[in-house]
Amino acid sequence: MEYLKIENLRKTFGGVVAVDNISFEVEQGALLGIIGPNGSGKTTTVNLITGFLTPDSGKVMFKGRDIAGLRASKITNLGIGRTFQMVKPFYRLPAFKNLVVPLFSPRVKRMGGHYGEKDTLALDILEDIGFERDSAVPYKPASILPHGYLKRLEMARVIALQSELIVFDELYSGLTLAEVASISPMIEKLIEAGKTIIMVEHRLKELFKIAHRVMVLDQGKKIAEGSPREIMKQPSVKKAYLGVEL
């Protein structure tokens, strides 16, 4: 049984075909990168998998069950966590209280394993993700935190949810090289812990360092899939990105 299998996924907005019969598979414990030029349907694909959009047709099989069209909260509780390209923190809440919300989810309650007060737990997760525990940072409202911390907060949410399949939607966008360098090992650590990861990314160099397989989208269609090394050699990929055949 495949872990995650996408079959002929299709989504249109009015006359625009955003995702055009995409099929792919992800094995458990793998890191799949999804790349492609702007408007190629990467984020739409993510939204279709995580339930934020309902596909027009096609299947999203997760551990043998078709989850296409389920509510996003339901899919999250099945174990698929996601981050957003545009960070979505709860601005009025302090950073650590942002994690109290996912800690209320049925999934976390069912999984158990989280021991102790929600606040302590939230602070533990934030410390792991790079918030200095003894500083004032975790206690500041999310509205005044810098972008790098908000991206980490997005990551902290899926960790708090104990998601087994994590979809990162342009996690690296807007981060400095130093920040990327500190976040990449965390993603490798998640893989070591047995999580499965899908990364939508524009920062190809950083992605290719950690991805096991890469899928390329262009204008809603899948144009290539393979290991990062193979993908870099594909002429169709270069054409999609640069617009010319090299």
């Binding site: 934020f52 909260s73 339901k74 996601r82 957003f84 979505k88 923190p89 976390v108």
Partner: protein, 341 residues
């Protein structure tokens, strides 16, 4: 050693000790912290029992409107900006009135029952609109009470245009005012506690980012239902209470004024603070009564005052006062002299 003095904000040393655990060192500091926190309790007591008899009736209405404003503010801070608090008020009023008139239930049963039934019906009325956000949600909540008002008028149910009269009264004005004051306290402190709890943070999160709430594995629809049940329950209690206070129920329970007042009170007092709407209601309630002498011209004065408030103090009265209070300074000895910075 110089004995120059410099100004220092009173809250600085208090905050420096720790940010939220109050470690108090003097009566003055205790007073600085406790007095503003005692104000809502003591202030309401004074308002309720020291005003002349005629104004007691005004205070009852003010307290009930205060609860309506608190309910509006709570719902607004959950991202549910309602323009139809009158709907909840009327449903509570009609439920309690019907329970008292048709079923013959005594007042101490009809009010709780009316509150409960009203809240359930209100939530059911709003449920289909929960997929809407922002202005779309507001507009629908504005429409529903107007629609139900005409339903009552056309079909003549619950007495139609004449309403139901002769409902059981409260035992006396002192009991009435005490009950309304206690209910206001419970609403105010209850909502504050709710918003500050971990469970309440979900409601705050609903407004900040409902998609992120969904991505946190919580159904936004289910939590919006809970928020509406709590918010409308408060208004239904107000409706049930006023029905028995007036000893009658009529179509005026659907009046737009009832939807507007909570918003006006929240705007004047400061939205999203809970204290603000309470303060706003306590100012606007007696004010509209005091302006009664002007007849229908009072609406003009009232509206002009509101407009001035919105333009001059868009943040609201309470955040302004709170800021000023934190800026109160005192003279302290500066042993090393006053440094340049």
């Amino acid at each position: 050693m110089s004995t120059e003095r410099r100004k220092e904000r009173i809250d600085r040393p208090i905050k420096a000790v720790t940010d939220d655990i109050f470690c108090l060192s003097s009566i003055r500091e205790i007073a600085y912290l406790v007095i503003p926190r005692m104000l809502p309790v003591v202030g309401l007591l004074l308002l309720a029992f020291l005003v002349p008899p005629y104004w007691r009736k005004v205070m009852v209405i003010t307290f009930v409107m205060g609860m309506m404003a608190l309910s509006w503010d709570f719902m607004a801070s959950c991202g549910l900006t309602s323009l139809g608090q009158a709907l909840f008020f009327a449903l509570g009023a009609y439920s309690a009135g019907a329970a008292n008139h048709y079923l013959g239930l005594p007042i101490y049963l009809s009010i709780p029952l009316g509150t409960l039934i009203g809240a359930v019906i209100s939530t059911a009325c709003i449920y289909p609109t929960l997929g809407l956000r922002g202005i779309y949600f507001s507009v629908v909540t504005l429409i529903i009470p107007l629609m139900l008002m005409r339903v009552v008028e056309t079909t003549g149910i619950f007495g139609g245009t004449e309403g139901i009269t002769g409902l059981s009264p409260f035992p006396g004005i002192i009991v009435t005012i005490a009950l309304s004051m206690i209910a206001l306290w419970i609403t105010f402190f209850g909502l504050r506690r709710l918003i500050d709890s971990d469970y309440g943070h979900i409601f705050v999160a609903l407004k900040d980012n409902d998609r992120a709430v969904e991505a946190s594995g919580l159904s936004i629809r289910w939590f919006k239902v809970q928020a509406i049940f709590i918010g409308s329950g408060i208004c239904c209690f107000c409706g049930a209470f006023m029905t028995h206070y007036y000893m009658s129920i009529g179509m005026s329970a659907f009046a737009v004024d009832l939807s507007i007042f909570p918003i006006a009170a929240s705007v004047v007092g400061g939205m999203g603070t809970l204290v603000g709407p309470l303060l706003g209601a306590i100012i606007l309630g007696p004010l509209s009564e005091a302006l009664r002498a002007f007849g229908s011209f009072r609406v003009v004065i009232y509206a002009a005052l509101l407009g001035t408030f919105i333009v001059m103090l868009p943040e609201g009265l309470f955040p302004y006062l709170a800021r000023k209070y934190q800026q109160i300074e005192r003279w302290v000895e500066a042993p090393g002299g006053i440094s340049e910075d």
